[in-house]
């Protein structure tokens, strides 16, 4: 599954498409605490979070993640989108809750 697959499946809105968006996701992490995200030691992490801030994008970039899907229908500021563009991090927003998004992505992955 790529982040573009996940975005399409969740009906999310793609705000910025990064270079690695067509490569397979290594791990999905659903978390609002960036301190915990920074403990991950995996490549190509997809971050699912309700934290609609620049720090979510910065954190995804720091860990070498494929991108960020912001849940709970939160609005993402223009400066956050601009940051995602400058760091080449895929960014999307979706209306589902974090729990709903995770369950949906789990079912999607099982069915593949």
């Amino acid at each position: 599954m790529t982040i573009l697959d996940a975005i399409t499946h969740l009906g999310a809105e793609l705000l910025m498409q990064g270079a690695g968006s067509t490569e397979p996701i290594g791990q999905i992490m659903a978390c609002d605490l960036m301190s915990d995200v920074l403990l991950v030691d995996r490549d190509r992490v997809l971050l699912v979070t309700s934290l609609a801030t620049e720090q979510a994008v910065r954190t995804a970039h720091v860990i070498g993640g494929v991108g960020v899907i912001v849940v709970n229908d939160k609005s993402v500021t223009a400066s956050t989108i601009a940051l995602a563009r400058s760091l080449d991090v895929t960014l999307a927003t979706c209306a589902l809750t974090k729990f709903q998004a995770c369950v949906s992505l789990g079912h999607y992955e099982e069915a593949r």
């Binding site: 609002d32 605490l33 960036m34 301190s35 915990d36 920074l38 403990l39 030691d41 490549d43 979070t49 934290l51 801030t53 620049e54 720090q55 979510a56 910065r58 954190t59 970039h61 720091v62 860990i63 070498g64 760091l87």
Partner: protein, 306 residues
């Protein structure tokens, strides 16, 4: 002292890197012999002789009022006013250094002015040390010696040469969470372009990011410096306060003094310093209440990361 041309591209990179990495506080003498404005020039003459120094700052409760030099004492002896108060004869328009300035500033000051020593002030403008050319030379020689030893040790182990020094320094403002992470992002991008492996890249970026967040959240502001010297990447965070009361406690997982605002931004879980230590091959931390904290994390690149 012969001046060193800091703008000259031919200057050795190792020396240039040291001059920008080392701070005035690393070279200064902090156990300062000082006098008050009421002290006589005779007393200062005796202090100079006893401590083998050629200049004494005049300061009261940390506030610097002037400097009395050996030249002032000689003039007082010639003029017959050696018993008078130093306040009447000291040099009151003093040129001083700041403790957090890179040592390159000190080199420039010694070249620009004809003084043999400078008083050093802390971030609050209080006298915290003195720096003479002898102190500066001793510090530089010590640092150069350590650097040469390290390079020789690397060569013995067959590691890549230390060519290609890379140095960046970032200022981190306190409570500016909006911009915290800029340095870590830049460091990651820089090393990614140099072909550093992804897992190593992540360790370096995470260490830099955690230190940057700590500077922003817990300190009164400071600097994050990044240096790559061959296979060695060093990240150093320096701040000027408030310092950590119990470093061992701060290094435990889950201990934090962060407030709700910080937690609402996704940080403050008390994982920062332990995570830096986990990510680093070498880690050390020095902290003193009221003075500040310096954390250094070193990550060694794999042989293929050139």
């Amino acid at each position: 002292m012969n001046s060193l041309d800091l703008q000259n591209d031919d200057s050795p990179l190792v020396l240039m890197e040291l001059l920008y990495r080392l701070r005035v506080r690393d070279a200064m003498v902090s156990d300062v012999v000082s006098v008050t404005r009421l002290d006589s020039l005779r007393r200062i003459q005796k202090l100079m002789k006893a401590h083998r120094i050629t200049g004494v700052p005049v300061a009261e409760q940390g506030r610097l009022f002037g400097v009395v030099s050996m030249g002032d004492i000689i003039e007082a002896l010639d003029g017959g006013y050696i018993h008078e108060s130093c306040a009447l004869h000291m040099t009151s328009s003093v040129v001083s250094l700041e403790a957090d300035m890179p040592l390159s500033f000190a080199v420039s000051y010694f070249a620009r002015y004809e003084f043999g020593r400078f008083p050093v002030l802390d971030a609050e403008g209080r006298l915290c040390g003195m720096l003479s050319t002898r102190d500066l030379n001793a510090c530089l020689l010590g640092a150069l010696s350590r650097e040469v030893n390290r390079m020789e040790s690397q060569n013995e182990r067959g590691t890549p040469s230390s060519r290609g020094y890379l140095l960046r320094e970032f200022r981190v403002k306190t409570q500016d969470l909006e911009h915290a992470g800029q340095a870590a992002n830049e460091i990651r991008t820089l090393l990614q372009k140099q072909g550093v492996q992804s897992s190593t890249l992540r360790r370096i970026a995470v260490a830099a990011y955690e230190l940057e967040i700590n500077l922003c959240v817990h300190s009164e502001g400071g600097t994050l410096s990044f240096m790559r010297a061959g296979p060695r990447v060093e990240i150093t965070a320096r701040d000027t306060g408030p310092g950590i009361a119990d470093v061992e406690w701060a290094l435990r997982d889950g201990t934090s003094t962060a407030d709700e605002w910080v937690r609402s931004r996704g940080f403050g879980a008390g994982m920062g310093l332990p995570n830096v230590r986990r990510a680093a091959d070498e880690f050390d931390i020095r902290s003193q209440l009221g003075t500040g904290t310096t954390v250094r994390a070193v990550v060694l690149l794999e042989p293929t990361s050139t």
